[in-house]
Amino acid sequence: MKRAIHHLTTLSLLALSLLQAATLHARAKAAPADNDRTIQAMRDEMARAKTRLELSIPGTDAPVRPYFVQYRLLDVDVKTVIAEFGALLSSTTTRNRFMAVEARIGGYKLDSSNFVGEDGFRGFIGSSGAVGIDRDYDSLRQDLWIATDQAFKEAVETYSRKRAYLSSLARQPDMDDFSREQPIVSVDPRLEPDWSARNWDQEARDASAALRAYPQLYNSRVTYYFLYATEYLLTSEGTEIRASRSLASIEAGLETLADDGMPLHHFYSTYAARPAELPGTDAVRKGLNVSATELVALRAAPPAQDYTGPVLFEARAAAPLLAQMLGPSLNGSRPPLAFAPVMDQILTSFGGKSDWVGRIGARVFPAGVTLVDDPSAKDYRGQPLLGGFSVDEEGVRAQKLTLVENGALKNLLMSRRPGPDSDRSNGHGRSAFLNDPRPTMSNLLFSSSETVSSDELRKRFLDKCREEKLAYCIVVREMDNPILSFDRQDDFSELLASLGGGAGTGDRLPLVVYRVYPADGREELVRGSRIIGLSVRALRNLAGIGDDSYVHNYMQSQITGFAGTALGAFGTAQGGLPASVVAPSLLFDEVEVRGARGEPKRLPLVSAPQLTATR
């Protein structure tokens, strides 16, 4: 049928109780007067699903019924403008709606979820897919009817396969499948798309034209992306939510080859909650110029050599580094039961397993460090933070959490999928575009009671360098985001192939890397470095923490296989989940940096055609 654009994985959600729901809020809030019949249609189809959906299984007495049914619906208006070197590649505006229906069989303790079976293609009519955009009643009833039927039948099948699988295991899982939470009713006003104030086509042309001044670039692409999303959630427990969000972004990837054939990349990105808050053309041109200038400098820089020793991550690099390292570790929910052990292996190699589960109370940072995840924070010292939300995608109110206090692990991020350390959600079951919600950070704030000034940190760094009698030491000024910086899909796939095995054990991709010579403080740009083996364990013994801070707004990937892994911090606005990390400069005592490797590419056989700086 209608294409299920973001098809849900089978590592699905969790469930609640019908009993509970029955006693809870009647329709506390009346439907707002905006001609939106969505919730009404959901309620009415839900009423049928709750009372009349049942299957008789041969050989059993009582018919099977769902103990939990959930409707999610996503209403998206998207504008995308892409330009390269001053010319428009495309400009599109679309409006779509998607639904995802989930039904659960069994009970909170053991149900049809958290099981990765051997599912195949289930046909054209599924439990998810595109639905009508009119916000009308009748067509949505029809779509929900079929999707609910399908979700229920799938759950019945999965439940029986899961129980068969469990009966083959020596030890049964001792964790519940789904946490019990208080239902919420919260219907917010709908945000209407507003992107007509500025001529975005022309801005994209004008901004990207700045890159014409760099004929050394092979490819470049500047993407303006605007999103208005309204998400609906209705559960058989009584939760009813309508919440809107918007996002505006400019993302650019720049590519070239060094003269020896080493592929080099750079990127530029900026994010805002509303289109009007995006920087103007001059500011974007300036940002693109900085990236392009650095990239051109990288072309001329010497290839990096293997190195082991102190590494200073300046705040601009430390914040994205923490985003990559902590993303998987902060996840406190259990992984799903996998029918195929290969799933387990994939998760491990991409760093999808948390190193911190089961370690509550253990010291994970130096003693003065505090780590807070605050979904309610709007800004950090006046700089906007992007990761805020009030209710998560499972209908649980967002909580501000102290994750690390005085260096010791206190809490993990929880969705409604229980884990070894907690069987309750703390409102961090997040996802974008109807993907499977998983424990995900919002605004992550790193602070420490023991910091030093930038000068002092640098001095400490150089002292260590001298102590170890190294000719030079490494400063990382910016981390790469390959999903933005790589323009061509095949190049990106190549990178993934080389990174795949190492991501789980701490391979990191620095972008702007300098050698600092302690003898005279001279700095020298190098290209092609990769950090290896930098796992969260290294955070226990940070050698120094700066008193500065950098706000890193970024997109968490929602792509299956990326989401929740060490690659999860590599996202784009198109299909990403906004988050922010605030961090100071960080000094590590010993980091292994691998020098330039990989097959060089051959330079083009024909010289580049002319590119004039002004059109």
Binding site: L88, D143, W145, L605
Partner: protein, 589 residues
């Protein structure tokens, strides 16, 4: 709406999705395309600045790459500009309504020589592929376009040079068939033609209202669990330059309305009905009456099929209505008359050495004529001016009075067929191969459809069968042309009736596919009707999905075999449709 992907998707799997329109009793009238071969722009045509930029970059590339070892002996650039408006709806509401414009660059680089180049298939190895091309700006910016061409050309040359080296090594150790001795690329006269650029302006709002209304009607039937209606307008302009001197600019606008409904039989079998309208002139859009009639038929057939009994595998006489026959010919004959299938060692080469021999009854002739714009009042989807290798479309007599005469040819020559006849076609991003355009079946043993039906009943009686089959609609099918599989075809009939010899009313049945082998099946056609009917659709094969048409009168086959259809085991929905639920749970408003 192609056949589900349960079969391996490979070049050997040919999926066709076609649907047609009934025609009044008219003989085919071919309208030749206005051709312009003298290189001057047509009166209302302006030469796009793209061509100049492409030519300049081509000259620069050839100057360097043409002198390397191995040399690039042919370089071709194609920029395809697509303007689209899409309005779709489902179950009474709008699904999408959007417009978009883009340009796509494809670069073909051939290294070696016309006789032996990087596209040669040696043994089982597939030809190398350096990617489908890249998007280029919709703004006319020569410098940015040339930059994209520069990088894409480099990529394609490297892939071609690498492939050629492998081929030259592989060729020494692999057995060559006689068919494989043909050159790799034909020499063709370069063409220059500057046609008018196509575009449309469209107010989507009236179509949004229509699409909503067309799909809302289907909610009236409890048997219809899902409906999708799509309107699409597309203007496509192609700009092509080659190192041989060809320079083309041409475009066309097409409109399409598709209706699709789904249901489920009590045993879980999925039942679909589909209908499409295709037109070129905005004034030819189907009116409310035509759409309503199509929808009523679809609904009636779907409701009938949901309730229809299953039939068992059987073999016996069958009549195919014109539109069903057209798909039958497209699958069973048309694909096997595609030139490259006579060459590749992996192919079954069903007809490779049968030129000049009778393969059909002598009353049948078949041509493939992409120069035909319309058949009677129906626009033909397989019309085009130039194929995707820059060769003018040509009318090709494939079968004359039963005798095989020719193949649909791309620029990949066969022994005895050194030239293209303008059938090298592809979907954007694929390499062209020989494909069908408008496959037209003509008969000089035509009787009225009523007489044909009488003949069917006679055959049933003379063969002593309890019933025969009347096949009214075919969804498409797949045909195995590769050597690894039996040379069989399978065609998926959607609307099948049992016809009884005793005059009882026809009985709608479901659950069978038509199977057979081409050389046998084609000779069992015993008579035809006198009314050609047209199918317009998109045909998928190794060069992607291309628009095609097929036209045929009804045919009578003395023996046709049907086998059980693969089917879904998912039960019908547990609850009745919300609009048809008599129990008022949840009607809380």
């Amino acid at each position: 709406m192609t056949t589900p992907g349960r079969l391996r998707v490979s070049p050997l799997l040919l999926v066709l999705s076609l649907l047609g329109v009934c025609l009044p009793a008219q003989l085919p009238v071919a309208q030749a395309a206005p051709r312009n071969g003298d290189g001057r722009p047509e009166a209302n045509a302006a030469r796009s600045p793209l061509l100049g930029a492409m030519k300049a970059e081509l000259d620069r590339s050839l100057d360097v790459l043409g002198k390397l070892d191995p040399p690039a002996y042919f370089i071709g650039y194609t920029v395809t500009e697509t303007q689209r408006a899409d309005v779709s709806g489902s179950n009474g509401a709008l699904l999408t309504s959007a417009e978009a414009k883009n340009r796509w660059l494809e670069v073909a680089v051939r290294s070696g020589s016309y006789d032996l180049d990087n596209t040669r298939k040696v043994g089982e190895r597939m030809a190398g592929n350096a990617g489908p091309g890249s998007p280029v700006p919709v703004d006319d910016d020569a410098e940015v376009l040339r930059r994209a061409i520069w990088l894409e050309t480099d990529r394609q040359y490297r892939a071609a040079a690498e492939a050629l080296i492998k081929i030259k090594t592989g060729k020494e150790v692999k057995v060559q068939t006689a068919e494989g001795q043909a050159p790799d690329f034909s020499r063709e006269t370069p063409r220059t033609s500057i046609g008018p650029q196509a575009s449309f302006t469209l107010d989507r709002r009236p179509w949004e209202q229509k699409v909503r209304a067309y799909t809302r009607v289907f909610r009236d039937s409890p048997a219809i669990i899902n409906s999708i209606v799509t309107f699409a307008a597309q203007a496509r302009n192609q700009y092509q330059v080659t190192s041989e001197g060809t320079q083309l600019q041409f475009g066309e606008v097409r409109y399409r309305l598709e209706l699709f409904i789904q249901g489920k039989a009590p045993d879980g079998m999925d039942i679909n009905r589909y209908f499409n309208f295709d037109w070129v002139n905005p004034a030819d859009a189907p009116d409310e009456k035509a759409v309503a009639a199509a929808e009523a038929t679809m609904r009636k057939e779907l409701e009938g099929l949901v309730a229809a009994p299953l039939i068992e595998p059987t073999a016996g006489p069958a009549m195919l209505t014109g539109r069903a026959a057209a798909v039958f010919f497209h699958e069973v004959f048309g694909h096997r008359a595609e030139g490259h299938r006579q060459k590749d060692i992996m192919e079954g080469q069903t007809f490779a050495r049968k030129v000049g021999e009778p393969i059909l009854p002598d009353f049948l002739s078949i041509t493939d004529d992409p120069t035909m714009k319309r058949l009677a009042t129906t626009d033909l989807l397989g019309y085009y001016q130039f194929d995707d290798e820059g060769v003018p479309a040509q009318r090709v007599p494939l079968i004359e009075h039963g005798v095989l005469r020719n193949f649909e040819m791309s620029r990949s020559p066969l022994i005895g067929f050194p030239n293209s006849n303008g059938h090298g076609r592809r979907q954007l991003g694929f390499a062209p191969v020989s494909r069908q355009g408008n496959l037209i079946v003509q008969s000089n043993k035509a009787v009225t459809n009523a007489q044909l039906r009488a003949k069917l009943v006679e055959l049933i009686k003379s063969q002593g069968k309890p019933f025969g089959l009347l096949i009214d609609d075919i969804a498409g099918g797949f045909t195995f042309t590769g050597r690894g599989q039996p040379q069989a075809f399978q065609v998926l009939p959607l609307v099948v009736y049992k016809v009884f010899p005793d005059g009882r009313p026809d009985e709608l049945v479901r659950g069978v596919d038509i199977v057979g082998t081409p050389l046998v099946s084609l000779t069992k056609i015993v008579a035809t009707g006198d009314t050609p009917e047209v199918f317009n659709g998109y045909c998928g094969a190794e060069s992607g999905s291309v628009p095609v048409a097929a036209a045929s009168p009804a045919i009578l086959i003395s023996e046709l075999e049907v086998q059980k259809k693969e089917t879904s085991t998912d039960k019908p929905p547990i609850l009745p449709p919300p609009a048809h639920d008599v129990v008022k749970t949840g009607a809380s408003q």
